[in-house]
Symmetry: C2
């Protein structure tokens, strides 16, 4: 394995450990020393990868939004709009299983990022949100969906799915996939008998 | 005005000022001294009302959930389920106009409450969530709604509405009432053409 790839893998591992620790112990009360300790490395070694706690927080945000964007880009362009929306909902819910700490940091500590970091993350987040909004707009154009407000509908979709980070437990009665699919059914078919 | 009523009003005013300041400047970085300064009183006077920053945070949580519970209790028992759900959605969205700081504290700083305070708030929040869930279950029983999962549907409703605290701006193109009503239409009638 080339040195760069190995360093990237180590960095990702440290980001994952930091995100989990922030989730457990709170971002504000967790020191860089505590992150190093949780990762089983010395503080100077951690500083080799990250200049500060801020930089770790940025890496968490960046990884999280990149994961969503990658999945979005991997979808075939001719996917029916309903399938594209369902897949997006599954993606967000699945990250609550695999990247729980990332999810909390992304939703609760965005404002703690530096101005420059916020700009980078906001740009990526806007790109992702616009892609989901586009699926809804296309669904309307193609006659799959009712003529709703695409932006507001995307915000409803994100609301349903993102909010799950407040209540979703891996050991709950429904899997993240089942929750996504039931939310999608509710969104598509509505509550009315 | 009796002294107790006056003290209650002053307390509420201080809670509102603290909530707004936490929203603007961040809960963790705001000191009790800064709260006193923003309220135009001396720190010892603030301590007359609240023993600590924790106690202010608890008061914010308590006021917020009490507002929702009061509105829920004020609804006529024979309201059609759809109307009860729409009213609940309007309530949450309206609080983003009137109690913006409360909303953020409630959603982002619950974990910073003391264990005892968390138990009190969790009990009230559960009571409120159960009431909304009951409206959905009644709607299913009465044949107004499809036989969906009432709990998961309540969580979808809260998701759509609560998440708005992340993006709602008072000066935006839609009022909080319009957003609530469009979300309700989406929930009731679904996206499918």
């Amino acid at each position: 394995m080339p040195a760069g790839v190995k360093a990237d893998a180590k960095r990702r591992e440290l980001v994952a450990q930091a995100a989990a620790l922030f989730d457990r112990a709170g971002y504000h009360t967790t020191s860089v020393a505590a992150v190093a300790q949780a990762a089983g490395i010395r503080k100077p070694t951690l500083y080799h990868y990250f200049a500060s706690k801020d930089e770790i927080l940025f890496a968490i945000h960046d990884e999280f939004i990149d994961l969503l964007i990658e999945r979005e880009r991997a979808r075939p362009a001719d996917l029916p709009a309903a399938d594209a929306v369902r897949e997006a909902m599954r993606d967000v819910l699945e990250l609550m299983d695999t990247h729980r700490g990332h999810v909390r940091a992304f939703f609760e500590h965005y404002r703690e990022l530096s101005e420059e970091a916020r700009a980078t993350i906001a740009r990526k987040r806007d790109e992702y949100e616009a892609a989901v909004e586009r699926h809804i707009a296309q669904g309307i154009e193609r006659g799959e969906f009712r003529p709703v407000d695409p932006r507001l509908t995307a915000l409803a979709v994100f609301g349903m799915c993102n909010w799950a980070y407040q209540w979703y437990r891996r050991e709950g009665r429904l899997s993240s996939r089942e929750i996504a699919d039931r939310f999608f059914d509710l969104l598509l078919n509505g509550l009315r008998r």
